[in-house]
């Protein structure tokens, strides 16, 4: 008997595994039918999960930890049995700010996080940076990367990604950190220049997770297992370069992620157009959806998230880290996916962090 599970998502590039699991039959093979519900904001998705209107949802990797620490308006505890994507963020600058960096000789190599931080520190102005959500990997990556700036220089503004180009063009923000396709879109329509991919700061930053209310997987192990396997297999398929074009076409059909397929394909293949003149700067491992073993939500990753959140919002670190660790359930991932020893040894661990000392 096929069972149904309701699943919330926000239409972005990294919603691809959810759409593909449904359309390409990975869910069907696992004997589960996905009832996909599109949401317009992370707050809305969080409410849908809180209220049990969806069983699970694609969610920002930082939200379960933030919620466990009592940050934000959500109420219930969340946990993640699967990482849906790693990386995929870009940091971009407004045209006037980019021009100032160019004047002082910045190379715009799209990889050296430390030299980019140094040149921003030299400019000596306030830096208003747009991020999609207060509790997002985008905010934490920037906060870590520019921690060496004098206090008060850096301020964050929450800007829904589709409004990022407009906010930049109208001078409400000087820079942004956002997931694709919205960074490329800001290059196209607002003359933005991309400075760094998120992976230049942390090589494997968890970006989206599958989130449920705490205890849901244990209460519904059969259904949860089918769901996790279907999504993990879709992610694995998506992670193979030869599937990028097909994936981009499928994901951009009406009612799904409504942007031009080439924008999605560039994100999937790491061919990022970084300036309005069309310069392409390839990034290896720009955004990862697989292999399956790499998508285990490890408590060590959540601990980093909890620690950075605690520092940013002035909370005690030890309890924050403890609360955050509980939200990334590598144990459920291992149980549902039955990984071999060889697969587990291939897990990259935390990955590398850039040296960002100024």
């Amino acid at each position: 008997m096929t069972r149904q599970v309701s699943l919330g998502f926000v239409p972005l590039v990294d919603a691809a595994p959810l759409v593909l699991a449904d359309v390409l039959g990975f869910a069907e093979e696992e004997g589960v039918r996905l009832d996909l519900r599109r949401a317009a904001s992370w707050s809305m998705l969080r409410d849908l999960v809180d209220q049990g209107q969806v069983a699970a949802a694609q969610m920002l990797s930082v939200m379960p930890a933030a919620q466990a620490m009592g940050l934000g308006a959500g109420r219930s505890r969340l946990e993640a049995p699967l990482i849906l994507s790693l990386g995929g963020q870009v940091i971009g600058l407004s045209a006037p700010l980019a021009a100032r960096l160019e004047k002082v000789g910045h190379a715009f190599d799209f990889q050296d996080a430390r030299s980019a931080a140094r040149v921003l520190a030299l400019l000596g102005n306030g830096l208003r940076i747009g991020v999609p959500f207060p509790y997002s990997m985008q905010a934490l990556l920037v906060d870590y990367w520019l921690a060496g700036l004098p206090p008060g220089r850096l301020s964050f503004r929450t800007v829904p990604p589709p409004m990022m180009p407009e906010a930049l063009a109208e001078g409400e923000i000087d820079a942004f950190c956002v997931g694709e396709p919205w960074g490329s879109r800001a290059v196209q329509v607002a003359g933005a220049r991309l400075l760094l991919p998120g992976t230049a700061i942390w090589s494997h930053p968890p970006e989206k997770v599958l989130a449920t209310r705490a205890g849901w997987c244990e209460a519904n192990p059969d259904l949860a297992g089918r769901l996790v396997r279907a999504l993990a297999r879709a992610g694995d398929w998506l992670s193979r370069p030869e599937n990028a074009s097909s994936a981009a076409e499928i994901v951009t059909r009406p009612g799904r992620v409504e942007v031009a397929p080439d924008l999605i394909e560039r994100a999937l293949t790491g061919q990022i157009v970084t300036d309005p003149h069309g310069r392409i700067q390839p990034v290896s491992g720009f955004q990862r959806f697989g292999p399956v073993a790499a998508m285990a939500p490890m408590p060590e990753q959540a601990a980093w998230i909890g620690q950075r959140l605690a520092r940013r919002f002035g909370l005690p670190e030890a309890p924050a880290i403890a609360a955050a660790r509980m939200t990334f359930r590598a144990d459920l991932h291992a149980r549902f996916l039955d990984l071999s020893g060889r697969q587990i040894r291939a897990i990259p661990g935390l990955g590398r962090f850039a040296d960002v000392a100024i």
Binding site: A39, A40, S41, W42, S43, M44, D47, L48, Q51, Q53, L71, G72, A73, R75, P132, F133, P134, Y135, R157, T158, V159, P160, P162, M163, E166, A167, E172, F313
Partner: protein, 194 residues
């Protein structure tokens, strides 16, 4: 007598906004500011200092409000999403109606209740209308595609309208697909082949 309740309503459609304001006025002493632009939201909430913020749950700017749950300055009052802990049913009803309410800390729940009830009723009506409109629009789109596909089959096979329709329906049943999907495939193929 309680002071007037300051409400900030975020709503893009002027007509909808007017009707919500009307409903709120009937429910109690309110002073409603309507805001349609989304990006200036945070600044406006800080300036207008409302007691209650009402926003369509599906409004793409909702995440901006999340920022306000962190009061960063001494003059700022933290805003909390309205989740009356004693009344989970009300929260559920609000979410089903598609309205999100954010209240300023310290406001008594019984002052909010009649206002929120009125807002929920109004939003619920809009939600139903929106669902029906979307369904109607989708059905119309599908009918257009089916008509085009029927025309293509009639031309290619010299069939009558009824025969073309029957052929398409059979193809759909044989393949376990929806008629509209088979029609869409035909139309796409015809467009590609010129």
């Amino acid at each position: 007598m309680p002071a007037t309740l300051r409400i900030l309503l975020i709503e893009q459609e002027a007509e909808r906004a007017a009707r919500i304001v009307e409903a709120l006025a009937e429910a109690g002493e309110t002073d409603v500011t309507v805001l349609s632009a989304a990006r200036v939201l945070a600044r406006h909430v800080a300036q207008a200092r409302p007691d209650l913020v009402l926003i369509d749950m599906a409004h793409p700017s909702r995440d901006i409000l999340e920022e306000l749950t962190l009061a960063s300055g001494p003059l700022e009052r933290p805003v909390a999403m309205f989740v009356d802990r004693s009344d989970a049913a009300l929260t559920r009803v609000a979410i089903e109606a598609g309205v999100s309410a954010y209240i300023v800390d310290g406001l008594r729940a019984d002052r909010i209740r009649p206002i929120l009830d009125a807002a929920i009723a109004r939003f619920h009506l809009f939600q139903r209308m929106r669902t029906e409109l979307a369904a109607t629009k989708a059905a119309l789109e599908e009918r257009k595609v089916i008509d085009r596909a029927k025309g293509l089959v009639m031309k290619a096979r010299g069939a009558t309208e009824d025969q073309a329709y029957a052929l398409m329906r059979k193809a759909a049943m044989d393949q376990g697909k929806r008629l509209a999907d088979v029609a869409q495939a035909l139309v796409t193929a015809a467009d590609l082949l010129g």
